[in-house]
Amino acid sequence: MSTLAIPASRLDLDRALFMVGAWALALVWLLPLAYAVWTAIHPAAFETRFEPFAPLTLENFVRAWNAAPFARYFVNTILLVTMILTAQLILCSLAAFAFARFEFPGKNTLFALVLVQLMVMPDILLVRNYATMGSLGLIDTILAIGLPYFASGFAIFLLRQTFKTVPRELDEAARVEGCSWPGLLWRVYVPLAKPTMLAFGLVSISHHWNNFIWPLIITSSVETRPLTVGLSIFATTDSGIEWSIITAATLITSAPLLIGFLLFQRQFVQSFMRAGIK
């Protein structure tokens, strides 16, 4: 009954404050990005002058694109991301299947060792992995950027969780029908794990599209450098490149993920939720 005791005006004020807070935070949050977009789509003269009718231009993008081999960097990044995701899905499905459906000695120890990677990632073990790549003769190759990430502890963990929810009756039925183990994995488990794979795929793509330190160390030529490394070199050359061009280049490198995110916002958010929580 005490609801009646709270005057309606106080509730309204409460709600209004809540909304003002939300919008204020959102605008502050968008400010750096909005500022970058402003700079990129206007001539250099308007870099810091905010006139609502300043002339728009795409010239900064054109000049940025021509100032560095961004096309090549794009190809490298796309190759890299595709290669990593493909390898991860194949290798980790196989391993996760074994962990979910087989009994063997040392299973728990092995699984614990897989989980170790969630804490001690290859991102930290730079010095030794560089030496390993050296002895494999892989330095400055796209394969070397991706190789340490192929066996993802995170993917094995996620897929194992999903595979465990598949009813045992299903695979017993399939086995009785004469389906082989790999056939069972491919025909029964993989189709049922598609949502998990999609979720992991988005996380993996955005992570490796954005990854920086390891690619920076292991690559040294235009033919192998991904976008992030290319952008960092472009932006730090200090050769008097105008800010409007650097911001344009920055937006170019982020554009595919940004556009992908804006188009598939719901899937993105749900995928990240699923990957983080399951």
Binding site: L25, A95, V120, V127, Q161, I213, G276, I277, K278
Partner: protein
């Protein structure tokens, strides 16, 4: 039959495990071994030096600086990211004007490469030029070089990290808030319970596991997220924004002192292991990993 299964399981596991051991376990162990040897230079081969690399670390002012900086960096980014993520999630969970837009505004920084984020913020901070400065200029304050000043450089890069990750953590809070039964809120409303009391007594305890989960991730990020340092400050000025992982990079790949870099990496692995063990004991894993 059991034995045959065993072999099949091994065949499924082998490719992933071989790669995992080659690029995670073997380098982790080998790094520990390397840290007790000297760096081979020219014709001088690597020799066993015992604890020398660690003794050097204790004398190393830059290392001490990096550890202190990293502690400050963690002490700010963890609570700030958690608090902002929670505020964002509370803002967009219910019915609110422009919910889709708000959600997008909060989450967008998360999909940008940190290198790109660093460029955007570099421009934002530029002395006498960036937006901060414009506002200061309007207020009649003198221009300030945020990332070139040892007093502010660390905080400038810290703000960037919070900006880049808070929206990501918001997602987990959103998921957690969805699991709170609406009947609880209805009951609270009938009882005339204020929004704040409801949050403190019901919401906050219920989402505690998520808060711990996010805190662990924020802690790992506090040691792993240094990409923007490369573009913004390179650890400077005068090591004011030096962080542990950046220092490892500098020792290992700028000065090519791989032995010392290995010893530094061991420190890093120990820190992450402590976080991992802490997570294992503190988190009720059943809550997260159903």
């Amino acid at each position: 039959m059991v034995r045959k299964d065993w072999l099949i399981a091994l065949a499924f596991l082998a490719p992933a495990l071989i790669l995992l051991f080659t690029f995670t376990h073997y380098p982790a162990v080998q790094t520990v071994i390397d840290s007790f040897w000297s760096t081979a230079r020219g014709r001088r081969p690597s020799v066993f030096v015992g604890w020398d690399n660690y003794a050097r670390m204790l004398q190393d002012d830059i290392f001490r600086r990096a550890m202190i900086n990293n502690a400050i960096y963690a002490a700010i980014t963890i609570p700030a990211s958690v608090a902002l993520a929670l505020a964002m999630a509370l803002f967009v969970q219910g019915r609110i004007l422009g919910r889709g837009f708000l959600r997008m505004a909060f989450f967008t920084p998360t999909v940008l490469p940190l290198i790109a984020v660093a460029n955007i913020w570099l421009f934002f901070y530029l002395p006498g030029f960036g937006l901060f400065e414009q506002v200061r200029g309007l207020a009649g304050l003198s221009p300030r070089n945020w990332i070139g000043d040892p007093d502010t450089a660390l905080y400038a890069v810290t703000a960037v990290t919070v900006w880049a990750q808070a929206g990501f953590f918001m997602i987990f809070y959103l998921a957690a808030l969805q699991t709170i039964p609406p009947s609880l809120r209805e009951a609270a409303e009938i009882e005339g319970c204020s929004r704040w009391t409801f949050f403190r007594r019901v919401t906050w305890p219920l989402i505690m596991p998520t808060t711990l989960f996010i805190s662990v991730n924020a802690t790992i990020n506090a040691f792993r997220t240094v990409d923007h340092i490369f573009v913004m400050t390179q650890g400077g000025p005068n090591n004011a924004s030096m962080l542990l992982l950046y220092y490892i990079y500098e020792q290992g790949f700028r000065f090519w002192d791989t032995a010392y870099a290995s010893a530094l990496t061991v420190v890093m692995v120990i820190i992450l292991a402590i976080v991992g063990i802490g997570q294992f004991f503190f988190l009720d894993r059943k809550v997260h990993y159903r």
